[in-house]
């Protein structure tokens, strides 16, 4: 090696590189590059392993890949190293990799040495037969949620355990609070109940396959368009083609409709949790109105079948477009009215302000993304900084609020609702002519492709690694919730346990998106 610059492999969003141009570097070079880039402002967008030789042989080595996002430059730096049964943990120096290292440890039965919090992530068996990072007996069934919880000892300190089944129509997860009276000293969140094995099922899947498409659509069903778009971009990057301009515009419309539905629903949820019933009732209904607009586009309220590798499944012909625009005008008015009422009510603001505060430093350290990060004053938005193609929003349009509390997270959503409303209308009005789908040639063999999409919760990352035959050898999915659950746990510190529902709703993270 002549110098580190030789090892610097940088792509943009939707980039694809041959693995030959990304050879494994020694661990020290890998670690220095990761720590150095993070110190210079990069985020760890993805960090995952893939066995060599594939697949899953008991004595296989493990290639570790990292995708470091430089939001200021719009660049994604790719790193690769090769490790054996153990690798040194970087978590204590770079907290945002802590969950990634645990995930690598669980998936491949390798140990992240020196990890300060080395616990299972989802509670499944390792993907390498017989390998287990914790040396557990393979004959004893794994019980999800049974991990060594962090405990606070002391007079009058008590523990509250909630879940996995919650009191409502909610996904399962287990929450363990350490409390002193009403005050939460620490919250630990144990997930994995929704684990369906999506990443492994994507191995060997087809670009045109219905099943692959539906697996990514159901990674997190409320983010169908976001995940389907990231998947489509990865497949297109591997095939070396771009979706037609009209398809890209229609994807953008669907993505903003998804953001609108969920953001409006979340503001309704906040209203429910503070007991402000008018906005709660209005937004619950308006959220459905946006879902119905998506159904006008593709027949399904969640956008199933809309985004496909190579383009989109449904066009917005003039009649459809007119119908959507007409509906949007009425919904627009209702949305603004409901939200204005909410943020214009002093008793509501009193409940939101100063509740569940996260500092910008904590948000940066944990690598938070999306609404939660922007509500801590961090200006990051894939649409502005890593736009997939020609569809950029201005960096000055990133909705930022400085205070890091429930109120800030609500306000970021409010601003994004306003900009998404405008974006849907503009994009539909200026829809480029042309086809909506282009056939994909065979995927590049022995390559790595990466795509980022700003879903409504935040940055979605999909990475595909192909084998010598062009088949998917490894498919990595990073839902924004993978980063942000740690943020919720930190936001609870020092708060009253009775504020948990409100603070939780202000993050509104995905269980299945995390659990995969």
């Amino acid at each position: 090696m002549t110098g580190h610059d030789v090892d610097r492999v940088v792509v943009r969003n939707g980039g694809c590189v041959p693995l030959a141009s990304l050879p494994p570097v020694p661990w020290s070079v890998f670690a220095d590059a990761m720590l150095g880039d993070v110190a210079a402002g990069a985020r760890v967008a993805a960090y995952f392993g893939t066995p060599v030789p594939a697949p899953f042989a008991p004595d296989a080595m493990l290639d570790l890949f990292a995708v470091l996002a430089r939001d200021d430059l719009g660049e994604l730096r790719l790193l690769r190293t090769r490790v054996g049964e153990r690798f040194p943990s970087l978590a204590s120096r770079c907290p945002q990799v802590q969950m990634f290292e645990r995930e690598i440890g669980e998936q491949y039965g390798v140990v992240a040495e020196g990890h300060p919090w080395f616990k299972p992530v989802r509670g499944h068996r390792s993907w390498r037969d017989g390998a287990d990072a914790w040396g557990r007996n393979p004959d004893v069934p794994l019980v999800p949620g049974e991990i060594d919880y962090y405990r606070v000892e002391g007079d009058e300190v008590h523990e509250v355990a909630v879940g996995p089944v919650h009191a409502g129509i909610i996904e399962p997860g287990h929450f363990r609070f350490q409390c002193h009276g009403e005050t939460v000293l620490h919250l630990e969140i144990a997930l994995g109940y929704q684990h369906r094995g999506v990443e492994r099922m994507m191995t060997g899947s087809d670009a045109d396959g219905t099943r692959a498409r539906q697996l990514v659509e159901t990674v997190a069903g409320d983010t169908t368009i976001g995940h389907a778009t990231a998947h489509a971009l990865v497949r297109e990057a591997l095939a070396g083609v771009a979706a037609p301009a009209r398809a890209a515009a229609l994807r953008s419309v669907a993505l903003e409709l998804e953001r609108l539905a969920n953001h409006v629903g979340d503001i309704g949820g906040l209203a429910t949790d503070v007991g402000f019933l008018p906005t709660s009732a209005f937004c619950g209904r308006i959220r459905g109105d946006y879902l119905n607009v998506t159904a006008e586009l593709c027949g399904n309220r969640f956008g199933r079948g809309m985004v496909r590798p190579g383009g989109v499944g449904f066009d917005a012909e003039p009649a459809v477009r007119e119908r959507i625009l007409k509906r949007m005008a009425a919904i627009d008015r209702d949305t603004r009215g409901a939200i204005r009422l909410f943020f214009g009510t002093p008793s509501v603001l009193a409940r939101l302000e100063g509740t569940g505060v996260l500092t910008p430093a904590t948000a940066r350290e944990l690598g938070l993304v999306g609404v939660a990060a922007r509500a801590c004053g961090l200006a990051m938005d894939t649409r502005a900084q890593h736009p997939p193609r020609g569809e950029a929003i201005g960096v000055d349009q990133i909705a930022v609020a400085p205070d890091g509390d429930v109120h800030a997270r609500g306000r970021v959503r409010q601003r994004e609702i306003e900009s998404s409303l405008a974006r849907v209308k503009e994009t539909l009005a200026g829809l480029p002519a042309g086809t909506i789908h282009t056939p994909l040639p065979a995927a590049a063999a022995g390559s790595l492709a990466v795509a980022l999409v700003e879903g409504w919760r935040g940055e979605i990352v999909h990475v595909a690694v192909t084998d010598a035959g062009g088949d998917i050898a490894r498919y990595k999915i990073v839902d924004p919730s993978f980063h942000n659950w740690s943020g919720l746990a930190m936001a609870l510190r020092g708060e009253q346990i009775s504020d948990f529902p409100l603070i939780n709703k202000s993050f509104n993270l995905s269980y299945c998106g995390f659990d995969l």
Partner: protein, 260 residues
């Protein structure tokens, strides 16, 4: 307060006229499939090949579509060049039996009412506990929506409750992941008898896209006795409502006849 009243008036009354009037579903909505074997070409299996879940089969020239495996992607209809498979906008898809979900030419799934004893108990007050067991949050979201004022589930005496002790039935979503199996069965065990089981969505009925995953079951049917199957990915809220009301014998007589 003074700001709330005019906004309340402006937003208006939005509860839908269902079940007195039929809902209008979007033009592109994929509901009840219609199979016409007269249009089938001999030996053609393009619809069968298009389905990754083996939902559609052709036996001796007669096609059959299993709504319990179907995710309503429309792939079979797109693959059929002869129009022998089409999806209509009919949202009424639920069935009391697993076999009843298999649609054959000229057939449709139907919802039988509960027997007299159960109808007397639950017909006017049904409390349900929902358990998500690997659901992607789309089924969950569209169950939640039933409690909004558009559908206003409460007016039918149906309510989602927090405790299994208060519940008459359990609504399961998701393929039932290995990690949720014991929690689901614990919830079921905590419910007083008699108790109903409702499988909502493609995953809960047949595993959906996760059918065959080593980390999940292929639906709740292998674990609990299911009383009502509601197909869809996710089921449209009106599909759920139709199934629930049909089971409770609460649909207007005219509607029940038109489904025949």
């Amino acid at each position: 307060m003074l700001k709330i009243i005019p906004e309340r008036l402006r937003q208006g009354h939005r509860t839908g006229p269902y079940p007195k009037k039929d809902p209008v579903l979007p033009e592109r909505f994929q509901g009840l499939p219609v199979l016409d074997p007269a249009l089938c070409r001999e030996g053609c299996r393009s619809c069968v090949q298009a389905c990754p879940y083996d939902a559609i089969t052709v036996d001796a020239g007669t096609p059959a579509l299993d709504l319990g495996k179907c995710t309503f992607c429309g792939g079979c209809a797109a693959a059929c060049e002869d129009g022998a498979v089409t999806f209509t906008r009919d949202w009424r898809l639920a069935s009391r039996t697993r076999e009843g979900l298999v649609v054959r030419p000229g057939e449709r799934p139907r919802v039988e009412a509960l027997d007299r004893r159960l109808k007397k108990m639950f017909g006017r007050s049904l409390k349900l506990r929902q358990v998500s067991a690997g659901g992607c949050n789309a089924c969950e979201a569209d169950l939640n929506v039933l409690s909004t004022l558009v559908f206003d589930l409460g007016r039918f005496g149906i309510q989602f409750v927090a405790s299994p002790r208060h519940a008459d039935g359990i609504v399961v979503t998701g393929p039932v992941t290995a990690h949720m199996q014991s929690a689901l069965l614990d919830t079921w065990a905590a419910m007083p008898q008699p108790r109903l089981v409702i499988a909502s969505g493609a995953c809960a009925i047949g595993g959906g896209p996760f059918r065959g995953s080593p980390e999940t079951n292929s639906g709740v049917g292998d674990l609990l006795p299911v009383d009502l199957y509601i197909p869809g990915c996710p089921p449209h809220p009106y599909t759920v409502l139709d199934g629930l009301l049909g089971m409770l014998d609460r649909l207007p007589a005219q509607r029940r006849r038109s489904a025949d």
